[in-house]
């Protein structure tokens, strides 16, 4: 059987196996808890002590500060890092690797399963915040909602994929991935200047800031900034994702995993 027909089939099987495992794991439970926080905050902000007149503000603040900047990277790293690293750490990688399937399908299947769980969590979280704030007076514009939720989902794809690739390559991958997402990114993205363009957050923000960055200006705590237009930045994110995916698949196919005994 050739690789073209074999890869999707094996990926699908691995995907199903890992999905069943991820869905019932304590990791997913922790994920649900974390994903529930932005909607919870939105609800509290509008109902307790709030004047109910700031649907848009609440949406933008929670969406950017909490959902896009913390929840998406954190859950992305947390769920994505395990794609291969979990199996090498648990030393179970031997089982799929001694089966007649392309090795890349193990990476793909497991990452896709994590991505599905992650996307459901992020979508639910984003939709929750949107639903709560849309009911308030002065709700966020549908474009902003679409843009931000879309950006969050794309963030999930990129962070989880990046973490998965780091997990394939490095032994202590999680520290590197966390360090990148929380120390490096946060620093780069929030310092004005062209260094921003090195961070994923910059492109993700470009997706929802609106034509002249109007949505961004409503976030007063951030410096005003010049962004790319949405289509160009989404294009670049896609290219990044494709490169990461290729690196992941090739590394898994080529790399010898030496398991500690």
């Amino acid at each position: 059987m050739n690789l073209i027909t074999e890869l999707p089939r094996a990926t699908w099987l691995i995907f199903r196996m890992h999905l069943a495992a991820t869905a019932v794991s304590r990791r997913a439970l922790a994920g649900i808890l974390f994903a529930a926080i932005p909607p919870l905050f939105a609800f509290l902000a509008l109902n307790i002590g709030g004047d109910g007149d700031m649907g848009e503000r609440v949406f933008m603040y929670l969406g950017v500060l909490v959902l896009l900047q913390v929840v998406a990277p954190a859950l992305g790293v947390f769920l994505g890092i395990g794609a291969i690293a979990d199996e090498t750490e648990a030393r179970t990688i031997t089982y799929p690797f001694t089966r007649p399937i392309p090795r890349a399908s193990v990476f793909l299947g497991r990452w896709l399963a994590s991505l599905l769980v992650l996307s459901v969590l992020l979508l639910a979280s984003g939709a929750g915040v949107a639903a709560i704030t849309m009911r308030a007076s002065s709700p966020p514009s549908p474009e902003a909602v679409q843009g931000l939720v879309g950006a969050t989902l794309l963030a999930g794809v990129l962070y989880s994929l990046g973490a998965a690739v780091i997990g394939v390559i490095f032994k202590r991958g999680q520290v590197i991935a966390l360090g990148y997402a929380f120390a490096f990114e946060v620093m780069l993205a929030n310092i004005p200047g062209s260094a921003q363009k090195l961070s994923l957050q910059f492109y993700l923000r470009s997706l929802f800031v609106g034509d002249d960055g109007a949505n961004w200006r409503s976030l007063e705590i951030f410096e005003p900034s010049k962004f790319l237009d949405a289509s160009a930045s989404s294009e670049r994110l896609m290219v990044t994702a494709a490169i990461l995916l290729a690196i992941g698949c090739i590394t898994v196919t080529r790399k010898q995993f030496v398991l500690s005994s």
Binding site: I14, M17, T94, P100, I101, L259, S261
Partner: protein, 307 residues
């Protein structure tokens, strides 16, 4: 007979640490025991055979194929790894079934094969329980089940008997014999030599990453001439027996034991001793009641070679 595993100058290092030095060996169909002291390279060799690692030097073919990432080979290969790792959230049945499905079987077929394999390893009562509740021996047998479930031509098992209680061990040995009868080749590694010895005559002994000996224990023993063989005898009248044995020209020493009635003989040619003994003992009439050469055991051979 064609070789199922063929290694030529095979080597694999972990950084500066040698896993396997320079190994050239051929495995023939049937059950083969891969023995050697800790750190001899048994596990590295097995990982190379199943394609978990790539050789750093030399050539290795298994069933005529190079193992690393070779899907065609993995269809015919079953591997029972040494590490006690399973997918903890699954039941034994799910575990074996899911792995079978990766081999292309439909859900129904895979389930049938999984149940059969689990029955074969004696887990039929426990197969619907989660593996994290299994005892060590049950986990070991689950690993074995996934290695045999797809009807492979070659089963490679790394220390499959470690941690098993005697009952499970007896069952596992029977399982290996059954597999061999069905025409499946089996390579098992072990430290516990007398168990491999119960299972097969054919051994490959490696030490420090090199081949030290191969063949049946008995043959290997014959090849080692630098050590005389030792024979322990028990007789009512040991001195008379000693006198009768002394003229045999391959006898090197005869020693009366501390316990009354015991006698230890060292001989340069154990086969000649075996063929001469019955006649000499019958003629001497010394009342022989025990006769045993410890050196024929695998452990003794192992000690000579490694020692």
């Amino acid at each position: 007979m064609s070789a199922i595993v063929l290694a030529e100058n095979l080597g694999r290092w972990y950084g500066e640490v040698v896993g396997l030095g320079d190994l050239s060996v051929e495995f023939e169909p049937g059950i083969t025991g891969l023995v050697g002291p800790n750190g001899a390279g048994k596990s590295t060799f097995m990982k190379l055979m199943v394609g978990e690692l790539r050789p750093a030097r030399g050539r290795l073919t298994v069933l005529g194929e190079t193992p690393f990432g070779n899907r065609a080979l993995h269809r015919h290969l079953g591997f029972c790894p040494q590490q006690d790792a399973l997918y903890e959230h699954q039941t034994g049945r799910q575990f074996v079934r899911d792995l079978l499905r990766l081999g292309g079987w439909s859900r129904r077929e895979a389930d049938g094969l999984a149940v059969r394999a689990l029955e074969r390893v004696g887990l039929e009562d426990a197969m619907d329980r989660k593996v994290n509740g299994y005892s060590k021996g049950m986990r070991q047998r689950t690993r074995l089940a996934q290695a045999i479930a797809h009807g492979p031509k070659l089963v490679i098992a790394d220390e499959p008997l470690t941690g098993l209680d005697p009952i499970a061990r007896r069952q596992t040995n029977e399982l290996f014999r059954g597999l061999a009868e069905d025409g499946c080749s089996v390579i098992i590694s072990s430290h516990v030599l007398h168990e491999v010895e119960n299972l097969t005559e054919t051994m490959v002994l490696i030490h420090r990453g090199r081949l030290l000996a191969q063949g049946s224990v008995r043959e290997v023993r014959r090849l080692i001439s630098r050590h005389p063989s030792r024979v322990d005898l028990v007789a009512r009248n040991p001195r008379r027996l000693a006198t009768a044995l002394l003229p045999l020209d391959h006898i090197r020493t005869i020693k009366l034991g501390a316990d009354p009635g015991t006698l230890t003989v060292e001989t340069d040619d154990i086969a000649a001793f075996h063929s001469a003994f019955a006649g000499v003992a019958a003629a001497a009439g010394a009342g022989v009641s025990g006769f045993k050469s410890d050196d024929a055991s695998l452990e003794a051979v192992f000690d000579y070679l490694v020692g």
